[in-house]
């Protein structure tokens, strides 16, 4: 009964989101306030019924209702309660329902927080979001309902895929989807602005906190996925350039570009069509990712079960949303052109560089992900694009990006002079070079160009991101959320760059075979294999190995990796054991039983790898701080575009206006 109620609630939610879409868009078009007023209650109703549908499925999982096909295929009575709930989004149908729930939460938040916006604009935004949720609900009900019954009921479930039985992976999809779906808000704002035919600085101010919120969730979600892959897949890698990972990374790149482009639009009222395009891209790439993961056009290690009907549906949906918004863009964006100049080496110039490099990076990742498909379709042959190619390709835009970051943060708006901060920046660069050389040559004993550039750029970013907050603090100015958030996020980038440079250049991985009592030493750490014994888990049996790690005669870590066999699926999983440290991680993963107590195992030394996820976490916190800036919460009358407005002076910006033509001026070509 409960699953049927869930299905019914989802159908009602679909009807309400249709109402939300129709009255939101048609009401704004007819300028009928009565119609427009319908959109908000429809959002609330939709949210309530989606929550009911979701609760019905949670109930089916928690109560082990194996008469529901989806529960029977993805859960098991022996599965611990936490994973029984997380199993809900362990496969295609349930994860779609999660997606719908998150979309309805975002929509509710937009409905609640957009009351001070002009009515036509907010109802257009809600209308667009209603169209998106209509599309996803129709998809779920038509091709992928999680509520379908299994007749006769299964006695027990087939269990959740053991790979997914893990804390980080259990919370990774909700986090990531919150990011993916959150970009729909910026998308809806962009479409609404194009429908209105008006886009000003106020619009950018409304859009920015929503974009930051989506971005920070996505940053955290990607970092969680990477952390999970690192310890759960057992082989110590932290990024694999798998299509599914790329699917989450491309919207992140576009979203990062969007945040920066919005900054220019908010401050200067330029880059408008570029901002619109990025807002469309960030969400479109989320949808493209959904298509790639769920349609079966690409091979991936963790793609969902596939079905061509689903593929065709998503493709149709993609065509409607992305095609529709891009058509709207082609029609309306030319009218939104606003002239405005800036000089070489000004803040706008650096942000333009940032945008171009991030867009190039996203395009390269897209190309690498789709190349196997495109080659096959053009009959050139079957190819696969491996991590070395991706890494190399990705470095091309990334190295200049991180080198431009430190001066870019401190460039003045409009005017291309860095004089006010040039001295400290050069000094910090000198410090970064000295420290970079010290770390690479002094601690690790060798250096290559790429590693050295990575360390130096990372350190330079770390130091210079603190420059502005410190200067403001010393001058007695208030440090706003925007300034602090930007400093934090960039500080995170610095940590990330240092972490990547450390791991990629100085990691050590050894595959060895050891007998009980024997040892193997890497980089001063002696791994002694003590013994192995069987242990029993709730839904698996395992062999657990005990390894003692010592350095200079002192024991530094006790590691107990496991090799598990999950009973229901008879699937083997290697659980690596990790000794975590700021300076390095030590990993042991079990390989194969070689007989007589001997095992093959992989020993790893990973310097600075923690900084990768710490950096991502700091970036996300920076997002939180920036999004909570007071200026986004201030209620203020609708302000018409003020081109070149400088609401508050920045340090080093007190010089009088430049005489026209005295310095080189770069004309702004909108759209890059």
């Amino acid at each position: 009964m409960i699953p049927e109620l869930g299905q019914f609630a989802l159908i009602l939610a679909l009807l309400l989101s249709l109402a939300q879409a129709f009255f939101g868009l048609a009401g704004a078009w007819r300028n009928d306030a009565g119609w427009m007023m319908v959109a908000r209650p429809a959002v609330t109703g939709q949210f309530v019924f989606v929550v009911l549908a979701f609760a019905a499925l949670v109930y089916a999982f928690v109560s082990n209702d194996f008469s529901v096909n989806y529960v029977a295929t993805n859960s098991n009575s022996q599965l611990p309660l936490f994973f029984r709930v997380a199993a809900l989004w362990g496969a295609h149908e349930g994860s779609l329902l999660l997606w719908i729930l998150i979309l309805s939460i975002w929509t509710l938040a937009v409905a609640a927080l957009s009351r001070q916006l002009p009515l036509t604009f907010s109802s257009r935004v809600l209308g667009i979001m209603g169209l998106i949720s209509t599309g996803f609900m129709l998809f779920t009900l038509w091709t992928s309902s999680p509520f379908l019954r299994l007749m006769p009921a299964a006695r027990d479930g087939a269990d959740l895929n053991p790979i997914l039985q893990d804390f980080a992976l259990a919370i990774h999809p909700p986090m990531l989807y919150t990011g993916y779906v959150g970009f729909s808000v910026a998308f809806a704002f962009a479409c609404a602005a194009m429908l209105e035919g008006k886009l000003d600085q106020t619009w950018a101010k409304w859009t920015r906190p929503w974009t930051l919120a989506a971005w920070l969730f996505q940053t955290a979600g990607i970092a969680l996925g990477s952390w999970w892959a690192y310890y759960e897949l057992g082989w110590g890698g932290w990024w694999f350039w798998d299509p599914v990972e790329n699917a989450s990374f491309m919207p992140w790149l576009a979203g990062t570009a969007l945040i920066h482009s919005l900054a220019v639009t908010e401050r200067r009222g330029i880059f408008k069509s570029w901002t619109l395009l990025l807002a469309i891209f960030a969400f479109s790439l989320s949808l493209v990712g959904t298509f790639l993961v769920r349609s079966g056009v690409l091979v991936s290690v963790h793609s969902f079960a596939t079905d061509p009907t689903r593929g065709f549906y998503i493709l149709g949906f993609l065509l409607a949303t992305v095609g529709g918004s891009l058509a709207l863009y082609a029609w309306r964006a030319p009218k939104l052109y606003s002239p405005g100049g800036f000089e070489l080496w000004s803040r706008e110039f650096f942000l333009l560089v940032n945008n171009v490099l991030l867009a190039v990076a996203a395009a390269l990742v897209l190309w690498g992900t789709l190349a196997p498909l495109i080659y096959e379709m053009l009959n050139i042959g079957k190819i696969s694009v491996g991590p070395p190619v991706f890494t190399l390709m990705f470095l091309v835009p990334m190295v200049p990006l991180i080198l431009f970051l430190a001066p870019g943060m401190h460039a003045a708006w409009k005017r291309g002079r860095l004089t006010a901060v040039a001295k400290p920046l050069w000094a910090l660069l000198g410090l970064a070079v000295a420290l970079g050389l010290l770390i690479t040559l002094g601690i690790y004993g060798r250096a290559n160009w790429l590693g050295l550039v990575g360390f130096i750029a990372g350190l330079w970013i770390l130091f210079s991101s603190l420059l502005e907050p410190i200067q403001r603090w010393r001058a007695g100015h208030r440090i706003t959320g925007g300034v602090a958030g930007m400093a934090l996020a960039h500080f995170g980038i610095g940590l990330f760059a240092i972490g990547v440079s450390g791991v990629q250049n100085y990691k050590i991985e050894k595959d060895v075979a050891l007998k009980p009592g024997s040892t193997f030493t890497i980089n001063g750490y002696t791994f002694r294999y003590v013994d192995a014994k069987p242990v029993e888990g709730p839904n698996y049996d395992a062999i657990q190995m005990h390894v003692e790690v010592s350095r200079n005669g002192r024991v530094v870590a006790q590691l107990d990796p496991q090799k598990r066999r999950y009973r229901t699926r008879q699937m083997d999983m290697s659980e690596s054991a990790i000794d975590v440290g700021w300076g390095r991680d030590l990993l042991v993963a079990m390989g194969d039983d070689l007989g007589q107590g001997a095992w093959s195992m992989r020993l790893q030394y990973k310097p600075l790898i923690r900084l990768i996820w710490l950096g991502a976490l700091v970036m996300a916190v920076g997002g939180v701080v920036a999004a909570s800036d007071r200026r986004y919460r201030r209620r203020e009358p609708h302000r018409e575009l003020e081109r070149g407005a400088h609401p508050e002076p920045r340090p080093g910006e007190s010089s009088p206006a430049q005489p026209a033509g005295a310095v080189q001026t770069v004309p702004v070509a909108e759209n890059g």
Partner: protein
Amino acid sequence: MWKFLLPIFAFIALVVFFALGLKPDRDIRALPSPLIGKTAPVFSLPDVMDPAKSVGNAPLAGQVYVLNVWGTWCIACREEHETLLALAKQNVVPILGLDWKDERDRAQAWLAQLGNPYSAVAFDDKGNVAIDWGVYGAPETYLVDKKGRVLYKHIAPMTAEVWQREFLPRIAAAQKEST
């Protein structure tokens, strides 16, 4: 204003590729064997029935034959076994078996219980010959011509339909060729 149309054109091109990628008959995991058209690796291994005897493909030189890779651990091999027995009865070409990464007593029991469609079965417990042939997984079936060249490779269980469509026409053409 053409530059504002650029994004939508690029997107439409992408959609065309996506739509082509969804063709139902497209086999995403199909991997063309690099051996097609090349000389098949020659091997000689112990006979699965009798370790003292050896089985190889050298004696089949000058004949068209089929090599079927299987193992008792492979469920899909069990699925294709009835088909192989039927094909063996037709006796069009000899079917050489390659028992891959298996245990001898299990393989013998399998053949005794289910019937033996093979002219002979080579026992590749280490999997070295399978590596030479570029075997990805079981079952796989190779077609070799009179000159010892690999003509075709089928991944997944053999079915009557695949045999009719892919193998028989190639066998007929290959048998017309002189050695």
